[in-house]
């Protein structure tokens, strides 16, 4: 069994990813799609709100209206299109979100400090959460019966609200709970690149040491990979844009974080 994370920028390659998954069932596929949320928010007249933290980090703020678009695009459009692509190939697939079950339970930041007009201000936290709990009984039930699961990165908040969660975090936490043979994280990069060279193999300890030297995005991914590998799961960070992303990852492509 494997968990596969398909990043938003590799969704265009879903036909080939799906074909490659046929021979690697059962699997849980966690997908991204945040870029599409931006596009559909614009179409629906929802202006993106960018907030700045006191230390100067700018980030997108998920307000209630944008969360609604997130649910529609991720749990609706993207999820069902991936499910359809899999069923096209005869692969039994059931698409849910982390809200369903519930599968993923997350904590929302209640209030955050932002900088507006050069002054500090407290505003309610956006509809974004950090995953606190993972429930997998229903996933095991489906996987054990030959169904594959496609999961949208939404979670149930501890106050009952729906929250958007990071897809890498969702895939990682699911992997630590499900203990698959592999977690394969597909994105638009070939793996961890250091000094222009692909790093092909790391222990969890090496991955953590290396993470601090990497840029935003990859550093978090590598920290999560290290965590998952520590729980005994082999993790591969590799490209989702090649013809056979799963086969290549299993054959050594990308960066492998191996339980020590």
């Amino acid at each position: 069994m494997m968990v596969v994370k398909v990043g938003g920028r590799t969704l265009g390659n879903i036909p080939l990813i799906a074909r490659d998954l046929v021979g690697h069932q059962p699997f849980v596929l966690v997908h991204g799609g945040g870029d599409l949320v931006t596009e559909y928010s614009k179409r629906m007249g929802v202006e993106p709100r960018i907030v700045t933290s006191p230390s100067g980090i700018r980030s997108r703020y998920t307000d209630e209206r944008e969360l609604e678009v997130f649910v529609m695009v991720l749990a609706g459009k993207v999820n069902k299109e991936i499910v359809s692509s899999l069923i096209d190939l005869g692969v039994g697939a059931i698409g849910i979100s982390g809200v369903d079950g519930p599968t993923l339970i997350a904590e929302r930041k209640r209030r955050i400090i932002v900088v507006e007009r050069g002054r500090r201000r407290i505003i309610p936290g956006g509809y974004t959460g950090r995953i606190e709990e993972v429930r997998t009984d229903h996933l095991r039930l489906l996987l054990d019966s030959g169904y594959n699961v496609v999961m949208a990165p939404l979670a149930r908040g501890t106050q009952g609200e729906m929250l958007n969660v990071d897809g890498d975090q969702a895939a990682s936490r699911l992997s630590s709970a499900l203990k698959p043979d592999y977690l394969i994280m597909l994105s638009d990069v070939e793996g961890v690149i250091l000094d222009g060279e692909l790093v092909s193999r790391l222990t969890p300890e090496e991955a953590e040491e290396l993470a601090v030297r990497l840029g935003a995005g990859m550093n978090r991914k590598l920290m999560m990979a290290a965590d998952v590998a520590r729980s005994g799961v082999r993790v591969v960070i590799s490209s989702g844009l090649v013809d056979e992303p799963i086969t290549e990852a299993l054959n050594g492509a990308g960066t492998h974080v191996i339980p020590s």
């Binding site: 002054r119 407290i122 974004t128």
Partner: protein
């Protein structure tokens, strides 16, 4: 426009375009105060601790 510091009672100057949730420092006692609105008036209360950590 000014409001009273809930800690030391001193008057605290509010910006003309003051925003609910805005954080100010009391010039007298140094406390960090949060602006809130009640019945169209801006008031001050002690700001609770909120970490810089933005999580994801």
């Amino acid at each position: 426009m000014e409001a009273e510091c809930p800690i030391c009672g001193s008057p605290v100057e509010l910006p003309d375009d003051v925003m609910a949730g805005e954080l100010l420092e009391c010039p007298s006692c140094g406390a960090t105060l949060e602006v809130y609105e009640q019945d169209g008036t801006f008031l001050l209360r002690e700001a609770e601790e909120i970490g810089e950590d933005w999580g994801e």
